[in-house]
Amino acid sequence: MIRKRFLPLRGLKIVAWTVAAVAWVTAAIAGRAVAATATDTATPTGPTTTQTVDTTQQAAAPALPQNGLIVIRTGSTQTTQTQQQQQVVRKVVVQAPVRQAPAPVRQRSAGS
């Protein structure tokens, strides 16, 4: 009697647990796929947040004129390797040679 009474209940439990297990595995696989897709599409947005421009900062160097630029002296602030390379590229040495005068007249200018 007892056996007869519990057999249908055990069968139901087996079915329920099987369905639950299948559902969990399916959900887990689907979730992993969604996460992977989301990561792929999110990748380009990373650097955008670092491109925020601080408008209070002053320019690090002048815009390069069409005919180039002579770098007479570099400043005391630290420069990155990229900046140093740019300065080398910008250095133009096609200026006309200065005639050596026997006695140049020297003046000073410091601004007003």
């Binding site: 180039g68 400043g75 200026q95 200065v98 007249v105 007003s112």
Partner: protein, 281 residues
């Protein structure tokens, strides 16, 4: 040759002359122009013009000449250098000779005003309320005139100089007083504008006398000083101010101007740059 110095127009003027040439004519010229063009002398013609309620008035030939050069400077710089900022310069605190300028607690609040003006011959057209400031232009103009009249070989008015000596080299000083660059000027002119000189504090922030007409405030620029080589000192002075106000784009702009022979700028980090046309000595 020999050199002599004297004070005029709020700065030290150094005159280089042939040995036989007297310097008093140059002194007199600077004194005369100052009496007409100064905004720090109450009785000057410029101040009478600035105070006048008239929109059309006749001015002296000398003032008309200086205004004509100022008009040329305004045109060549696209309006960046305009004597019509006189009221703004004064409102920001530079309303007296510089040694008497004091710091301000608050920046000025000025209503936008019309700044259009023109000069035709001796006739000046100017809306009432527009105050003209000819400071830098008048200084350069006087140096130009002294050399063109052969009263001197070189006139250096506080760093704005005009020369007719072919071997003139100008040492450009940085804010520390060190030589940042030496430039061959020869028969020509060089002027330097700086935000370090003639600077004071407004609302605990650095202010200076070079007003940007686009903002009505002292120009915000990464350039500490700009030196321009040109044919005339008055135009070199205007060019230097424009380069300074244009900041990052200043050297590119100057490179495209056929009236500018060369430019040297001292950047905020101490770097020194020049355009390729500059004859660095």
């Amino acid at each position: 040759m020999h050199s002599e110095s004297f004070r005029a127009m709020g700065t030290t003027v150094t005159v280089t002359l042939e040995d036989t040439t007297p310097s008093f004519e140059v002194r007199n010229l600077f004194g005369h122009v100052e009496q007409i063009c100064s905004r720090f002398l109450d009785h000057s013609e410029l101040n009478r013009v600035n105070r006048s309620p008239q929109t059309i008035m006749d001015v002296s030939p000398l003032l008309a000449d200086v205004l004509a050069v100022a008009n040329t400077a305004r045109r060549l710089t696209g309006g960046l250098v305009d004597p019509a900022v006189g009221q703004l310069v004064a409102a920001w605190g530079y309303d007296r000779t510089f040694s008497e300028v004091t710091d301000l607690d608050e920046p000025p609040v000025l209503p936008p005003t019309e700044t259009e003006w023109k000069v035709e011959g001796l006739r000046l057209y100017r809306p009432p309320g527009v105050h003209l400031d000819l400071g830098g232009i008048a200084k350069g103009w006087t140096a130009d005139l002294a050399v063109e009249l052969e009263l001197a070989t070189i006139v250096n008015a506080g760093g704005d100089l005009r020369s007719r000596h072919p071997d003139t080299i100008v040492d450009i000083e940085d804010p520390n007083g060190d030589i940042a660059a030496s430039v061959h000027v020869g028969d020509g002119a060089l002027a330097t504008s700086s935000v370090v000189k003639r600077a004071w504090m407004v609302a605990n922030r650095h202010a200076h006398h070079i007003i940007d007409p686009r903002t009505g405030a002292p120009g915000a620029t990464p350039i500490l000083s700009a030196s321009v080589v040109a044919d005339q000192a008055a135009l070199a002075e205007a060019g230097a101010k424009a380069v300074l106000l244009l900041g990052e784009e200043g050297l590119s702009w100057a490179d495209e101007q056929d009236w500018i022979r060369g430019v040297v700028v001292i950047w905020q980090d101490g770097s020194v740059y020049a355009t390729t046309g500059t004859r660095v000595a």
